[in-house]
Point group: C4
Chain length 218, copies 4
């Protein structure tokens, strides 16, 4: 089972999910007040568009690295990956809800909690793939030593937890929860997975070796 | 005719079709009752979102394997594949219908039957590609012995049949038919195509051989 | 300039354009009459969905072959290709218009003419790429002898013309024009480009040669 | 970190963003006046559809070349690229706004300025990637001599500036600003990046060298 098509399919879902976010931005046509004030009144939609786009983008970057590190994929990884993609797709729904309801006094709490909940599910999906790969020892490259791998699982899981914390914070302050979601996406800008040392890379096991099968050599 | 672009195009349609399912999830803006109760009342949309996303995902996994096994593709396979993709695309329509109408007492039957009917067409499309490839003997790899191939066609076709059964069951009990659709997607988690034995894989004919053309070799 | 990304981008647009066709299928929620009769009344949408999906699919197959034959691509081809993709994208608009208006007595004519017009533009875009490549002699492989190439341009152009004829026929009979559009897509199932003879293929210039650069060979 | 998946993800977002533009084209169903006059009244939507599609397409072509020239990519480039893709996605929003409001006497100014503003952000994103790559000297190929690279950054940046000028021009004349946007996309048809001389290409450092690792030679 090749990683190539898994990546192509995942890239496409990440890309479509990110692009569909734009459907949450819209202003009614003429006859509903001046355009300028409508565009300004729309600001929650822009804020959540940026937060959601960057979050999907950063999960894509980390997914990219995660799949790149895996030595091979099997059916359970395909299905964990489907779960992750299902939550990524959900993101345009939760983003639309939060941008519609964020200014509503009492309901904003529910919307912000939903928003964080979907992000937490996304984090859970990514963590589950990595945790499964680590349990199946031969899926991770030799240089990924146990103590570093554990740290990376903790780091990946921490993100989910903080999203849940953000959902709870939303009960008290909606802007604070949005800030937390934005900060997490900055936190994940730094790489999550364990790195190969420069020395190890010289004898890099990840380098695509072109093995030549000489059927007719001398 | 290369398999690469066939896969790229198919992956993209599967991915877009799966992501468009999210358009079926939406709640009206403020002024239409509390958000919390609207989100809860939306539960049929979540159930059908998960069933449809997983079904598309699993058909994608099996399509992935099916195309991977084919030794080559010709124009009829391209057109059978187009038929399959057309039914996959239809899925977001039937999902929207079923999630809108599932709570309507008398109409739910029609919606659930439509839902199962589209899934049955998807199964039919996938089965047709595999059946055509088997009839053109040189499209399937040598290790696919007739008796195992027949079993796999039966297994693939069985799925279509059970979807049709689910459509009929919908006439009596809508929840039972949804349960059947969900169970089929779990049934297809297991691989459908015949497997190569471990021994055969040592002399694996599927391994991409890089043939070197030495134009200037001594 | 690599053909790989041109194909990836084009495949994605073809795929998204084909999948977006499904947005033209929708029935209102409960409260607007029985579901069964609404689904039946929707039949023009299904007919045009199938015609449009198959037309996009067949243009994709021919595009696939066309790009595969090209020995290289340059900026004008990229821009001709953008024009083709722009018309492919338009297809979901013309399909929605025709499925909404086909039952309207006087307006159906306009809708069917628009439908054929967009198809004719698609055909024009594909023909233009092929004609440009033929004019730049070194873009087509050596086996494409002038007389066969001319035949293929005539054949490709003929499609555009027949779409235009269909648009005119729509003024007299809308069903007849739909039938013509469906028949054209069947006509294009057969390959348009000149074929290599079996003998020529033995010394196939299209086969991807892996040239080995031996920097350190004895 | 491979360029392959960066390109696949970017291609997909460019493609979806371009295809979603079609959602801005729609006419109401029967009962709202003759179809013919509605289609004609829709002309601003067609003009902006063509301008936006071509602009996205041309930025895609240049992005294609830009990534192709880069010797490698790192995390900052991934994030600058995410910023670019976020602005490309926004384009279907600004296009819908401008096509809805362009005929509204006083508001057209705001819409045209927004339209140009989003294009300027797209140009800024592309320029930022190229400027960053030049600052990190080893990201650009050896043949890209400083003076030519600087000219290309100026040329890329000039586009952003002219988009901003177009936004200001919109305050005085909306058609003039649309003309400017259309002209810029024609300006960018010519390549932006420095070219290798024909002689240099003979010892082309961009040619994908297949290095053969002979583990068991002799």
């Amino acid at each position: 089972m090749s990683k190539g098509r898994l990546e192509a399919f995942s890239d496409c879902i990440f890309a479509v999910a990110a692009t569909l976010l734009v459907l949450g931005l819209h202003v009614p046509g003429p006859g509903s007040g001046p355009l300028w004030s409508q565009l300004l009144a729309n600001w929650p939609a822009y804020v959540t568009y940026v937060i959601s786009f960057m979050t999907i983008g950063i999960i894509w970057v980390n997914h990219h690295e995660l799949i790149g590190v895996l030595q091979r994929v099997d059916r359970p990884i395909l299905f964990l990956n489907l779960f992750l993609l299902m939550t990524v797709s959900l993101c345009s729904f939760s983003t639309a809800v939060v941008s519609d309801w964020i200014l509503s006094e009492r309901e904003a709490v529910v919307a912000a909690a939903l928003y964080g909940g979907v992000f937490a599910l996304m984090g859970l999906g990514a963590t589950a793939i990595w945790a499964y790969a680590v349990v199946r020892r031969d899926f991770v490259p030799a240089y990924a030593r146990p103590e570093r791998v554990h740290a990376s699982i903790v780091r990946a899981g921490a993100g989910c937890l903080v999203y849940l914390v953000g959902s709870v914070v939303a009960l008290y302050s909606v802007p604070a929860s949005l800030l937390i979601y934005a900060l997490i996406s900055i936190y994940y800008v730094a790489p999550v997975l364990p790195k190969q040392s420069r020395r190890a890379r010289v004898n890099n096991p990840r380098r695509p070796l072109i093995t030549i099968h000489r059927s007719a050599s001398k």
